[in-house]
Amino acid sequence: MKADAIIDCIGLYCPMPIVNTAKKVREMGEGQVLEIIADDEGVKQDMPNWARMTGNEFLGIEEEKGKYHVFVKKKSR
């Protein structure tokens, strides 16, 4: 999947991936896609739930060698 921006959350635990995602998404444009790379398994459930609560679109997770690549699309107003 192609992303407009990437944030590195390797080595970070809850709530930091969520905090960093929220901050980054705020800076991004509507409809843009953010990729979050994390290694805390918690993101597998936290990210879709965060997206649902904030109205952003959860596009999916790609898992690879203990790393999770999460894709979130910023909502359009």
Partner: protein
């Protein structure tokens, strides 16, 4: 967003582990678009006290209490295995190992995300703590009616 969902937390405890959990939840809520308010009361007031300087109050009992119960985000003990600070130091090292922020850092993040801090004036009066004992990040000083007014509109309300 005009009407954000609300979360309130009653910060009754002044122990590092409980405070970490509370800020974790507050930050999670604020990051998920919620309007978060934290009411600090009783031992919880220790979290928002300044780390520097001494706390002056009237009377021997109040002065003694404030000497023993100094507070400050960096001074909070653990609720378990504190071991005169040795346990706390070890816990802080474990936190560092996983890049988990310390209490003062979590407070900074919470403020950055717009979390409101309210201090309980009744406890302040009882314990003889004045406004200048607190960090400037405290938004207001109020009582139970202010808490109820926000809590009754909150979807999440926790007592920690």
């Amino acid at each position: 967003m005009a009407d954000k969902e609300k979360m309130t937390l009653i910060m009754f405890s002044g122990e590092m582990d409980k405070v970490l959990a509370a800020f974790n939840i507050a930050i999670g809520g604020a990051s998920s678009g919620m309007d978060v308010t934290m009411f600090f009361t009783f031992w919880g007031l220790n979290v928002i006290k300044k780390n520097e300087g001494s706390i002056k109050s009237k009377g021997i009992m109040r002065n003694m209490l404030n000497y023993m119960n100094r507070g400050g985000a960096k001074r909070l003990p653990l609720s378990k295995f504190h071991m005169a600070g040795a346990g706390k130091a070890m816990m802080q090292r474990l936190m560092k190992d996983i890049n988990f922020p310390q209490v003062d850092e979590l407070m900074r993040i919470a403020k950055e995300l717009g979390v409101k801090f309210i201090a309980c004036t009744t406890t302040m009066g009882m314990m003889g703590i004045t406004k200048d004992a607190f960090i400037t990040e405290v938004d207001s000083f109020a009582g139970v009616a202010t808490y109820i007014a926000v809590a009754r509109e909150s979807k999440i309300n926790l007592f920690i």
